[in-house]
């Protein structure tokens, strides 16, 4: 029974690692830096990196540990600390994604405005 339950947890954690790893890989290159520049915000729980994204999981006694995302699919200690910290990790990632979405929308608006402003000149050029 316990073994079955552990198998279920292992499956759920494998999926969690995949989702979070994919988000961190996507955000990993530069958006974090953009967000830091634009909002002066440093990610606290996630350390995205192209090759090996990591989570910053608080340890007992006030210490912190960098845990590769893949570890939460197999390492029991990492799973326990991940579950304890998941709500915070979730909030942080969602906030970063929200901000990125907002930045994209701003750029799209600016491009549309530019196309509208240039439309008369483009028509003259075509004529």
């Amino acid at each position: 029974m316990v073994v079955e339950e552990l198998r279920e947890i292992e499956k759920a954690m494998g999926k969690a690692a995949k989702v979070i790893g994919s988000i961190l890989e996507f955000l990993g290159r530069e958006p974090i830096r953009t967000l830091k520049w634009e909002k002066d915000k440093e990610p606290k729980y996630c350390r995205p990196h192209n090759i090996n994204p990591k989570l910053i999981l608080p340890m007992p006694g006030g210490m912190e540990e960098e845990v590769p995302v893949g570890d939460i699919a197999r390492d029991l200690g990492a799973i326990v600390r991940f579950i304890e910290n998941f709500p915070k990790i979730y909030r942080e990632l969602m906030e970063i994604l929200d901000l990125l979405e907002e930045l994209v929308k701003e750029r799209k608006r600016a491009l549309k405005e530019l196309a509208d402003e240039l439309a008369p000149i483009l028509v003259v050029e075509e004529l």
Partner: protein, 135 residues
């Protein structure tokens, strides 16, 4: 049109072009320096050379046949003419890339929301175990 009028019109054009250069530089820098451009290009199935952006770190270029520095459209008449001819393509390409980033971000958010729903039972159990330990 008198020469004086042409000068006034050119001044106006210069202002519009300066705004255009600023807007484009901001978008291209955002897309190529701050967002994983390779992911976006792959997802959007866009080849950067279709219109032609150069996204090496440093000045932002756009190009059709020749490499133009974007800021040149504020003062170089040939660059302005080249830009006018290419702008619809540039605009389309940039917009499809921005759409793609938006789509990817939405997908990631949806996956994260689904994950929290799936993990809720485990998270509740984790909290209960913590409470019992504290007792």
């Amino acid at each position: 049109m008198t020469k004086a009028r042409i000068i006034v019109e050119l001044e106006e054009l210069k202002k519009v072009m300066a705004a255009a250069a600023k807007c484009l530089e901001d978008i291209i820098e955002f897309l190529f320096h701050h967002v994983p451009a390779d992911v976006v290009l792959k997802e959007a199935r866009i080849t950067p050379k279709r219109v032609g952006f150069s996204f090496d770190y440093g000045p932002v270029f756009y190009t059709k046949k020749e490499k133009w520095k974007v800021s040149r459209i504020t003062y170089d008449i040939d660059a302005i003419i080249g830009f006018m001819r290419t702008f619809p393509d540039i605009s389309r390409e940039l917009m499809s890339m921005l759409d793609c980033v938006e789509k990817i971000v939405k997908e990631k958010k949806a996956a994260l929301k689904k994950l929290i729903d799936e993990l809720t039972p485990i998270l509740v159990l984790g909290e209960m175990a913590g409470d019992e330990e504290a007792r």
